[in-house]
């Protein structure tokens, strides 16, 4: 009977479950892309919807409930019943950490076990600053971190690599190899590759952060999960009262086999003195125990070491979190007119303060943007706004009839807009640089900006004017003007302006619908519709 039980390894089931969730995650990630319809057809932000850290922090910072409130309650309930199964069985970043950690053959002699407290301090700091209206959770929330890193760095890198390999084979065509690779390439294009190669300003920086997180697994497997992850800490606190308990029977010979395989550094060999909040329910201790002395079951008894974080350190973390709020806010950026004029937020973004209270930097909007125009900021929105989305028209304009960024935003920092609402939202205003514009400065016809202007009637209009060339020969050109009441700042004029380098027409945030102060026209005249 004992042998029969040993034959069944929980580990294999867990690996299958982890693989399934990772594949689901990747599938939804790849589906976060326009197919030309108005909607995506898949719940692409599903993992974020189940993230209780985002729920709690937005609740604290913005007093608002994230869109799919109910789903993250499921995660909380599961954790209360079963413990940190999310970490051990579901989290796609955890699974990736697991995989990378497997490269390292043996367990290191020295572990950073006492560091397990760090993640709790980070969590406490995060929650404290959220209470005082800051939203820093996204920087280290594992799902935001993962989606952001994939969107901005890993996926563009993957696409670049695959495309350049197949393109090189196609161009050189060694030994007629291209006839074999091209069909493979076309399948990849239809399945896992993006529609077009995307690229992002912070790709290298965000990528380096992500690869550092993965690289830490070579220091110690699941280093991130054990020592740094604030969501793991949050679930750890919840799991302390979980119903599913680990018990060690009398048969335990204290051989220490379990200590070597524990994914959470929970000190399983310490029996009742183990750190239950660190347990990810991987069940490796159960699998490996030669005496089969370990079992998981629902029992009322609670035997574990207390979570000793130290009162001073807890208070210190909380105060640090609180101090971060004025530190980040007392900057000139908050002054009207002092903001970066190029900080163009996606259509439907809330007023800047409210926006920053909600945006968790998950990068979903940047991934889904049809033109690749949404890019992560560095310091355009201050340190507080790092990696939040901004539109860079020269990279990609805002597609007039597209509403996808608002559909994928998990926290409502970008409102979900109906098409008829969206086309009235002003991101900013375009203005012409007459010193660079071809018909204004160089006696050459152009008027591309007017052609592509999507509003109807067009915000860009022109007057036919007689100009003279260098020889004094008169010729007629059409000189463009911007109708400030009609312009929505989508930036297609800037994107398509043939004057490369500094464009002859460009958008700044002045006039953006979401701001009361950042306005140009007399209030009441701005609505062009």
């Amino acid at each position: 009977m004992k042998n029969a039980i040993r034959f069944f390894k929980v580990q294999n089931v867990r690996r299958a479950v982890q693989a399934a969730f990772l594949l689901l995650f990747l599938f939804l990630f790849i589906q976060t892309e326009s197919k030309g319809s108005d909607e995506l057809g898949y719940p692409v932000r599903l993992f974020l919807d189940f993230d209780p850290l985002i729920l709690v922090t937005t609740l604290l910072s913005a007093h608002a409930v994230a869109k799919a409130f109910a789903l993250s309650l499921v995660t909380i309930m599961i954790t209360v019943v079963l413990g940190r199964v999310f970490c051990g069985w579901v989290c796609p970043l955890g699974t990736l950490n697991n995989l990378v950690g497997s490269i390292r053959p043996r367990r290191p002699a020295v572990t950073y076990a006492p560091w397990y407290r760090v993640k709790y301090y980070l969590l406490i700091g995060t929650l404290a600053s959220a209470l005082f209206s800051l939203q820093p959770a996204g920087i280290m929330d594992p799902l935001s971190l993962l989606i952001r890193s994939f969107s901005v760095s890993v996926y563009p890198l993957f696409n670049y690599t695959v495309r350049s390999v197949f393109d090189t084979i196609f161009r050189i065509d060694p030994l007629g190899l291209a006839s074999l690779t091209e069909p493979v390439y076309s399948v990849l294009k239809k399945t896992v590759l993006s529609f077009e190669q995307a690229s992002y300003r912070q790709g290298v920086f965000i990528g380096m952060v992500f690869f550092t997180v993965l690289g830490l697994n070579l220091v110690e497997k699941r280093f991130w999960c054990k020592y740094l992850c604030p969501l793991g800490a949050f679930l750890g606190l919840l799991s302390r009262r979980s119903l599913l308990k680990r018990t060690v029977s009398e048969g335990c010979t204290s051989c220490g086999a379990c200590a070597a395989v524990c994914q959470g550094n929970a000190s399983p060999e310490a029996k009742e003195r183990w750190r239950d909040a660190e347990c990810m329910v991987c069940r490796n201790c159960d699998d490996i125990c030669p005496q089969n002395a370990v079992s998981f079951g629902f029992s009322p008894r609670r035997k574990a070491a207390g979570l000793d974080l130290g009162r001073r350190r807890v208070i210190g973390s909380a105060l640090s979190g609180i101090a971060a709020v004025p530190l980040l806010r007392a900057v000139p950026l908050v002054k009207t007119g002092a903001q970066d004029p190029l900080l163009l937020r996606p259509p439907g973004s809330l007023e800047e303060k409210e926006f920053l209270k909600r945006c968790v930097r998950c990068g979903e909007c940047m991934k889904v943007c049809t033109t690749n125009g949404l890019q992560p900021t560095l310091l355009e929105a201050g340190v507080e706004g790092i990696w939040s989305p901004l539109l860079v028209p020269r990279i990609g304009y805002c597609e007039y009839r597209c509403t996808l960024c608002g559909q994928v935003c998990p926290t409502g920092a970008i409102k979900k807009l109906k098409l008829e609402e969206k086309i009235k939202v002003r991101i900013g205003l375009a203005m012409i640089d007459k010193g660079r514009c071809l018909p204004w400065a160089h006696a050459r016809p152009c008027i591309v900006c007017e052609e592509v202007c999507p509003t109807s009637k067009k915000a860009i209009w022109f007057e036919s004017a007689k100009v003279r060339d260098r020889q004094g020969k008169p010729l007629m050109v059409k000189q463009p003007y911007v109708d400030l009441e009609l312009c929505i700042g989508c930036g297609i004029c800037e994107a398509k302006c043939p004057v490369l380098g500094r464009p002859a027409i460009s958008v700044t945030s002045v006039g953006e619908s979401r701001s009361r102060e950042n306005q140009l026209l007399i209030p009441g005249t701005e609505a062009g519709y």
């Binding site: 197919k35 008027i447 007017e450 059409k478």
Partner: protein, 300 residues
């Protein structure tokens, strides 16, 4: 049939086949005399209009042979729906695809290089779903298939153009008639901007010359100008239904200058009002003087 009769017939048939062109050429000439320069069909569904326009120009089998690879070039330039008249009518395109397959075309490819996001343009225009359902290819244009080609024109010396246009056995141009700020109207000649690669926005600096250059280079088998709905203002993409006028009209022909000259009349203009039409006429690309053309008008 006796032997003598049979030999006589065989000899006749042999002679007929051995003369180059033979009887076929005579028939062709006779038919061409009766074939109009332009056909204007009005007043039916887009499907009926397309069918009768092609029928009046000699029938689809006149243009498409069994096994042909056919390229159909509609205007799919904008993220607009069919009723907004920013792109070619999807039903017209679908009917032409259907007829090509009926005539035995091996492959029908439909494409354009849009100004807006290609995915949205292909889907929202209704063109890609309609033609894919019929078995045609509606692939997005592939960067690799643009090749720098000599044009040696007035404005364009060479430009990257889409190779599939030149590799196809037959090309059918199906533009839509629309208002355009710079060109005044965009009709058949301007539709070839959709096969230009590179930074094509630069050609606005010499638009009339460039459009004539392109039409000198690209010679479609047939052109059908879609005026089921025309866009009278805020073109070329429009957006407001107030600018859309329903004409239920198609203009079919071979001469781009003649087609665009007739197209101008749909907007109350003359061909000579359009710089590229006048220039095309002057350079011998085609005939803009409608009084010198045989125009067949059909009411469906």
């Amino acid at each position: 049939m006796d032997r003598r009769h049979f030999l006589k017939l065989a000899a006749l048939a042999g002679a007929g086949l051995s003369v180059p062109g033979g009887i076929g050429q005579l028939a062709e000439a006779a038919e061409q005399a009766s074939r109009p320069d332009l056909t204007v069909v009005r007043g039916g569904s887009p499907d009926q209009l397309a069918r009768s326009a092609i029928e009046a120009m000699g029938g689809i089998r006149k243009f498409i042979s069994r096994g042909d690879i056919v390229v159909i070039k509609p205007n799919i330039g904008w993220d607009r729906t069919p009723e907004q008249a920013g792109n070619t009518n999807p039903e017209v395109v679908a009917t032409v695809v259907k007829l090509c397959f009926e005539a035995g075309a091996k492959k029908v490819k439909v494409f354009d290089r849009p100004v807006n996001d290609p995915r949205r343009c292909y889907v929202q225009s209704g063109i890609a779903p309609a033609v894919k359902a019929l078995g045609a290819e509606a692939d997005y244009m592939d960067e690799r298939k643009f090749k720098d080609m000599a044009i040696n024109g007035q404005a364009l010396k060479s430009w990257p153009l889409y190779t599939e246009i030149f590799e196809a056995d037959k090309v059918i141009n199906i533009p839509i008639a629309k208002h355009h700020g710079l060109a005044k109207l965009t009709l058949s000649m301007k539709n070839w901007m959709g096969v230009m690669g590179g930074s094509r926005r630069q050609i606005h600096q010499k638009l009339d010359e460039s459009l004539v250059d392109l039409s000198m280079k690209i010679k479609p088998t047939l052109t059908i100008l879609d005026a089921v709905r025309i866009l009278t203002a805020n073109g070329p993409q429009g957006g407001s239904l107030a600018d859309v006028k329903r004409l239920d009209t198609l203009v079919a022909g071979f001469d781009p200058v003649a087609i665009d000259s007739y197209g101008a009349t749909l907007f109350g203009m003359k061909g000579s009002d359009l710089g590229y039409v006048a220039l095309g006429h002057r350079l011998g690309l085609g005939q803009m003087d409608l009084s010198r053309l045989v125009i067949r008008k059909i009411s469906v």
